[in-house]
Point group: C2
Chain length 353, copies 2
DNA sequence: TTGTACGCGTTATCAT
DNA sequence: ATGATAACGCGTACAA
């Protein structure tokens, strides 16, 4: 038996933490038994288990994660990979909050990596990361979750991963999402229902799957209502406030300006609100504005935004749980979550008082 | 010499990553020499170093962080500890962005932990975390950075840590901050300079050191100008948008309402803006509003907020660098960063047109 | 049900 | 300047 390097007595002030040998000695068992108890494996007598647990408690023993990772090639780390420009958005913040919550619950830690989607060495970097970090799994956010090379690399490295809001489902992959197309369809239909006929749309980045689905939903609703799809009413945005400012200006400068503008996220919708001040447009009387996400800004601006709420934190929790609950008895049903139309003060019938 | 378990040829498809033995063999040196090269230690011949580097490159060798952590009791992990309610704020998001940036640069990873400041077992949890994670260091944000028990525990565990925006400097600790008192003083003086005499203030949480310093600066500026400090003009906030809504309502409901309101952060100031709509107050003509941070919301709202910019990302980078650059030749001067008054459209002289 | 012995990939001690 | 070898703490065949 290999002894620990501290005196047999209780822990000194700044002594090294107890290791598995200390526990084994105190409980009068082998380290293997301690290992079994700690990892909740079967084949341990009740009495023995109790003794071990007592020792664990008394010595405040914590398994060393490095030793664990080294020996088992498994860690209690989950990697969150997100595109660096997205870092400022409330969306990512909300995702992270949800992940942290679930990680705590399951005893995992979250390690966050910001990646540059434009970087040609992106795949290599991720390979290096997963090859050396033994992560239990990684979570991919948009637009990273649709980078084919990345997905292939992850597969090849046998790293399990979950994608949040991917462009399109890929066979054998774990995806968590809402029905972005349907959600945008609903919002557009709602605006049409109010009486709007010229509805502007601010797109998200090309490489965001969710953004594309929302555009699709917008078009679908127009078509369904027999309305024409007017290309000049669709402006390009990048999900950022600044891009919303530009896109909004473009739409509001049109000779025949829209009576409503639906932006693919709240940040851009908030920018349209700001624009409307400069154009001297009263919201919602002269212009209706709708966003997407129901992030914090939707309630911070005035008037508050009509938007489509997606359960961001919940999606994040589901994503983490897929990774932490290893033996997943495919509970596939949970992975498509519900959205909800949230009507506030930024929308009204066109030409309303 | 212990051989690697893969064939001598180049890496197979899903082969295990190369280890230090593979590199040593290819470069015809011992593993110790490889270690020296990888860790940039002295006493390696130029020629030898080149050979090793070539091998590292060819095999795309990455040191296994678990083995490293196990052997050296040091990791390339930095822990970010923040209070859970703060998670939604743009402030924390900006901090994290800065940290990630610097971590990348220095080859470190960031592991984020959300802690509940109210939890009585807080200290134990952190102890468990640092005891088992071998973090290179941790970064404490407000209000955690002023929890005495936490600081003591961290000290006892010999974990190095940096505090961001602490209440008061403690001897022997690394702190990164701006002069919150001076910054708030400047803002208040600016409002006084505009002609305001009744200036409301929305405080931050009691346990936030930076919040308290800002209150102090507000009072100092009033005193300096010979203005009375009216208690009913000071409302309690919690740094959240919702709390700003409540505090704003309270201040605007006063019989003698203030002509200007200075909130201790932007989120609460944005809430006051929203309030002013309900009270039918024109900004800035009938009410001036000022915030603090210059976070994203300050520019998203209308009118855009006059605020005090603090270099949040920069502070974050400095904090990380203190931890990563071990042999710190006390460059103390860098750690008190500059703030800046940012005047936008939300403030004007009282009773302006 | 329980225990022994070895390997995981690195750093570090001491030689040389 | 370089190298052989012992830790580091844990998981796990394999044995009992």
């Amino acid at each position: 038996m290999k002894p620990s390097r501290t005196t047999p007595g209780e822990s000194a002030e700044t002594a090294k933490p107890a290791n598995i040998y200390d526990v084994a000695k105190r409980a009068n068992v082998s380290i293997k038994t301690v290992s079994r108890v700690v990892n909740r494996l079967p084949n341990v007598g009740e009495e023995t288990r109790a003794r071990v647990l007592e020792a664990v408690e008394a010595l405040s023993y914590r398994p060393n994660p490095f030793a664990r990772g080294l020996a088992s090639e498994q860690s209690f780390l989950i990697g969150l990979l997100c595109d660096v420009p997205a870092a400022g958005s409330g969306y990512i913040a909300a995702l992270q909050t949800g992940m942290l919550s679930r990680c705590r619950k399951d005893g995992f830690h979250l390690i966050v990596e910001s990646l540059d989607g434009e970087n040609p060495k992106l795949v290599q970097e991720v390979q290096a990361l997963v090859a050396t970090s033994n992560l239990r799994g990684v979570i991919l956010t948009s637009p990273l979750c649709d980078v084919r090379g990345l997905i292939d690399a992850l597969k090849a490295s046998r790293t399990s991963f979950v994608r949040i809001a991917p462009e399109k489902p890929l066979p054998g992959l774990f995806d968590v999402r809402i029905d972005d197309r349907k959600a945008a369809y609903d919002m557009t239909a709602y605006l049409i229902g109010l009486g709007h006929r010229r509805i502007g749309f601010i797109k998200g980045p090309h490489d965001h799957g969710d953004a594309n689905a929302r555009l699709d939903g917008y078009r679908g609703a127009l078509a369904q209502a027999g309305l024409p799809i007017i290309e000049e009413l669709v402006a390009q945005g990048q999900f950022t406030y600044q891009s919303g400012l530009d896109a909004g200006e473009q739409l509001l400068s049109l000779k025949k300006r829209p009576t409503a503008i639906f932006a693919a996220n709240d940040d851009m919708a908030a920018a349209v609100l700001a624009n409307s001040q400069r154009f001297n447009l009263k919201i919602p009387q002269q212009l209706s504005v709708a966003g997407f996400d129901d992030s914090l800004v939707a309630q911070v601006v005035w008037p508050r935004l009509t938007t489509c709420r997606q359960p961001i934190e919940e999606m994040a929790k589901v994503a983490v749980s897929i990774l932490t609950q290893k033996p997943s008895k495919d509970s596939v049903s949970e992975r498509l979550l519900d959205h909800e139309l949230v009507v506030r003060e930024s929308t009204a019938p066109p030409g309303a008082l």
